[in-house]
């Protein structure tokens, strides 16, 4: 499944298994959660006050656009959170 982000440099590091809306996905150690998701998807979440989805904006923890929800209820700012094995991201989006 091809996403928005595009890895330019392959690098070593352990594979990190996680899921997006129940589907298996893989990231690398050192990937931020936002990057891990956007390597596979084009958005992170639905926008609460209108149609459409959001995929983050500033990547430096300032704009707060990239808060995502995990299946266990946790809310995480994806651009400041490293991806961890087993994270189960729920985007609520229709993006495949």
């Amino acid at each position: 499944m091809s996403g928005l982000f595009h890895r330019l440099a392959t690098r070593p590091g352990a594979a990190i298994p996680f899921t997006i809306d129940g589907m298996s996905a893989e990231a690398r150690a050192g990937d931020l959660l936002i990057a891990a998701i956007l390597l596979h998807r084009h958005s992170l979440r639905r926008f609460e006050f209108g149609s459409g989805e959001r995929a983050g904006y500033c990547l430096m923890g300032a704009c707060q656009d990239c808060w995502v929800t995990l299946a266990d209820g946790r809310r995480l700012r994806a651009c400041t959170t490293p991806v961890e094995p087993g994270m189960a991201v729920i985007t609520g989006g229709g993006d495949a």
Partner: protein, 382 residues
């Protein structure tokens, strides 16, 4: 320097003041409102937004009952959505003794025509299965609700303007005095002559009263408010607890507004700010009431300056020393719901010298002979 001559000058631009300006214009009088900063930006605009009769001092209930009727038509009257919704207000008991307090209050309130429904643990959980185990019972006031405090005061101010009132913002009043047949009020950039004067100066109401030789001990009060990011609908009613240490509601857009405890207030510069430890405390208490909010993110906190009286009920009524002067201040952290009716009452007092509502408990003379300042403390009940 602008010079105005009006029938009524109003010191303060909160909801009650601007509602009074509206009612006075409707009665055909000329009005000037003198507001230190922006209308509705003080205690009127920063409060919790509870539109609540339940839990009030019994002396306030007749006023609160009358005001509740006005809330139903407020958006239409102001031509603006003030966000009023009768979601009900539920007061939670966390112990048997709390429950006894609720039962006693429900009996007293019934005498004022306010019907409260007492809920035991089973009935409560059937309606609100998301409440935490600390809650053992509750009292529900179905006709109470919530509204958006940020828009009510400014909307009253705009209506007053449309009706022809002079609304002067950024016009802090330096002094006011009785002068012959009327009053002279000196404010920043504007000087007003009036036949009547309304003191609706909130935390500064005591200062204004003092200009006319009247004691009114007002302490600054700063509610400590916190709000979460927008969340899926969960909290169906406006919630308070016996003891008042935490209160919360969920807005139409999904944010959960919660409060409890006090911020810090500086009467000299008029600034109030929330206190981090107090915010964290209210957040923790909220979680014991609603564990499902555990993952919600808090995005903002705020406070604002209100005036509190030693007996926690406001001063409303004519001056004891000065003909033509009327007071309405010191709402002690729960004036939002009363604002619309206090506007009407002030207009009644100015135009007829009396009110349809019982005001005896609120007379300023109850503080005659009061010595020195007082320090306000304890919870602000919601």
């Amino acid at each position: 320097m602008q010079r105005l001559t009006v029938d009524v000058a109003i010191i303060g631009g909160g909801t009650a003041a601007c509602a009074a300006a509206v009612a006075l214009r409707e009665a055909g009088l000329t009005v000037a409102v003198l507001e230190k900063r922006l209308c509705g930006g003080g205690a009127s605009g920063v409060n919790f937004g509870g539109v609540r009769q339940q839990g009030r001092d019994l002396a306030e209930l007749p006023l609160s009952r009358r005001s509740r009727v006005l809330w139903d038509g407020l958006s239409a009257k102001l031509s603006e959505d003030v966000g009023f919704e009768a979601t009900g207000h539920i007061k939670l008991a966390r112990s048997e003794s709390d429950m006894a307090v609720l039962e006693a209050y429900a009996r007293d309130a019934a005498g004022h025509g306010l019907d409260l429904q007492l809920l035991g643990p089973n009935a409560l959980r059937a309606e609100m299965p998301w409440l935490g185990p600390a809650v053992v019972g509750a009292s529900l006031s179905p006709t109470d609700g919530q509204a958006n405090p940020r828009v009510v005061g400014p909307a009253f101010a705009r209506l007053a303007r449309r009706l022809g009132a002079e609304v002067c913002e950024h016009a802090p009043v330096r002094h006011a005095a009785r002068d012959g047949a009327g009053f002279t009020i000196e404010a920043e950039g504007v000087s007003v002559r009036s036949r009547h004067l309304v003191n609706a100066a909130g935390a500064y109401g005591g200062t204004v009263a003092g200009w006319f030789g009247e004691a009114a001990p007002v302490a600054p009060l700063a509610p400590n408010m916190v709000v979460t990011e927008p969340l899926a609908p969960l909290v169906t009613r406006s919630i308070g607890v016996v003891g008042g240490d935490v209160y919360l509601r969920q807005t139409r857009r999904g944010n959960v507004v919660l409060g409890g405890g006090r911020g810090t207030a500086d009467i000299a510069d008029g600034l109030a700010r929330p206190v981090a430890a107090t915010s964290l405390g209210a957040m923790g208490k909220t979680l014991t009431l609603i564990p499902d909010l555990a993952h919600a993110q808090v995005i903002r906190s705020w406070s604002g300056l209100d005036g509190e009286m030693p007996d926690h009920i406001p001063v409303i009524g004519p001056s004891g020393t000065t003909p033509g002067l009327v007071h309405a201040f010191g709402f002690s952290g729960h004036g939002f719901q009363l604002g619309p009716v206090v506007g009407e009452i002030l207009a009644e007092l100015v135009t007829t010298g009396r009110s349809a509502s019982p005001l005896h408990p609120f007379r300023i003379e109850r503080f005659a002979g009061w010595r020195g300042p007082f320090r306000s403390e304890g919870e602000i009940e919601h």
